[in-house]
Symmetry: C2
Subunit: 264 residues, 2 copies
DNA sequence: TAGATTGTTAATCGATTAACAATC
DNA sequence: TAGATTGTTAATCGATTAACAATC
């Protein structure tokens, strides 16, 4: 089942070196509709780096689509964040979309494929726990719709917050989390509580049935094996930025390998 | 100037293979006070990955320090985010701090060294432009003090916002940015405006004298060569998290190379 | 056709991991 | 002393870059 997606291409044959007669003629029907052939949503051989780049391609594609472009080349997409075109093509290949030489990729098709690959084609429901400054901001952030995320519930333990309406959600007491999560079949939770509350809140989320935690605290959470956690840490980015800023004179373009950092 | 920090170690000699008599005796004085010897704050051969890990070591060290620990081993620090001890030792070496076999590293010394290396030993002043949900949250975030950052001014172009006090800062009109930045000798700017305003606001910041932009918009900014930009993109983390969540059954521990992602 | 673009394979590069002598 | 830990060198691994045939 896992290898199914790969079975389209033949097994790699290393030592062979037949150059001339390689282009096996494919039945015409195969060639007519290669565009709709997408890999199933499972078993993706994508690197983490690729996964992180995909959203920015998608964002660019949406802009292009709004501007009425039907096709886009990997070269153009590469321009978004100073990437090499070959990196873009490699990344896009995980979606299963096939481009046209000389023309590029069909914008609409690529958008759909990336969204599908990332799981952004259907909205994932999430709860947010901890309605402080950050929690409040995330609740007010409109952009999550584009990321396939919908925060459907907000929780806190502060009696002064409970019952308040924050960006369209009524803050609920934390002890109602279980019922809410189970009823709504919610698997994702956004953790924005103070550090001291992080672990016990995470425990509570797991008990309630949460399977993925977006962790905005710097706390290393102890979680069962079947729960996924993604840490979001502003300190990382700031460290890189400050470092670059302070050592700006030294370096030319150096190892700006990271897609998030840029000079000029 | 750039190679100065490296000049301590001899140039790598590849083909040579002298194994036995390598340990050149160092004068006693050199060995007495290796602990206070820090590399100058310039020209660091640190990888981006290392740079991103340093803040979490620092955070851990602060906790340990508060608990009264004088020493910590690389093994313990590695526990923070499931790293290998050798990675920690390698990372810490960029600070110039030397540990003691059997004992580990002096907590206070290491804290100071990392802070110094990251430039967090002295507060860096910054302005924030765009007092929307996110900007407001960042203004209210207390933790920046620990990151060596101090947001000293908030700007917006909305007449309804200008003059309001948000978390202790009075929102100023954007056209006063130049004067404020130049007077305060501010080099860092936090960009939290709507996408459509991002580029022109960035231009404005650059004209005002800003040299580093912490970009919270998904817009690829066109900037002069001498301006550093760090993009902060929630979509990246969410893409990784959702992907892990949706393909959770497939994979065991796979390439969880990234320090921010974790299973269990 | 000519030439831009795709997708694939091989080479390069860098970071992680393994191995190990030195240290207290 | 014995053994845990450090710091360094070599090996492994993976991602990026380069090269190139196939395509329209």
């Amino acid at each position: 089942m896992k290898s199914q997606a790969h079975s389209i291409r033949p097994i790699r044959q290393k030592p062979q070196k037949i150059t001339p007669p390689v282009t096996a003629k494919v039945p015409a029907a195969e060639l007519q509709f290669p565009i709709v052939r997408l890999k199933p949503n499972s078993s993706p051989p994508a690197s983490l780096a690729c996964l992180k780049r995909l959203p920015s391609y998608l964002q660019m594609l949406r802009v292009l689509q709004a501007e009425g472009h039907a096709f886009v080349s990997g070269t153009v997409l590469a321009g978004v964040h100073n990437l090499e075109p070959v990196v873009v093509r490699k990344d896009l290949s995980v979606t299963g979309v096939v481009g046209k030489p000389r023309v590029g990729f069909r914008v609409l098709e690529l958008m759909a494929a990336i969204e599908r690959y990332l799981g952004w084609d259907s909205q994932t429901k999430a709860v947010l726990i901890g309605v402080g400054n950050l929690g409040r901001a995330l609740l007010g952030y409109q952009g999550f719709d584009d990321f396939g995320l919908r925060i459907v519930g907000a929780f806190d333990c502060s009696s002064t917050l409970i019952g308040q309406w924050v960006h369209g959600r009524k803050v609920q007491p934390i002890d109602q989390l279980d019922r809410f999560v189970r009823r709504g079949e919610i698997v994702l939770g956004v953790l924005t509580v103070p550090n001291s509350e992080a672990q016990q809140t995470a425990d509570h989320m797991v008990r309630a049935g949460i399977r993925g935690i977006w962790n905005f605290t710097p706390v290393k959470l102890q979680l069962p094996e079947n729960v996924v956690m993604q840490k979001e840490d502003l300190a990382e980015g700031l460290a890189v930025l400050l470092h670059r800023l302070l050592h700006a004179s030294n370096v030319g373009r150096e190892q700006a390998r990271d897609g998030d950092t840029q000079r000029g």
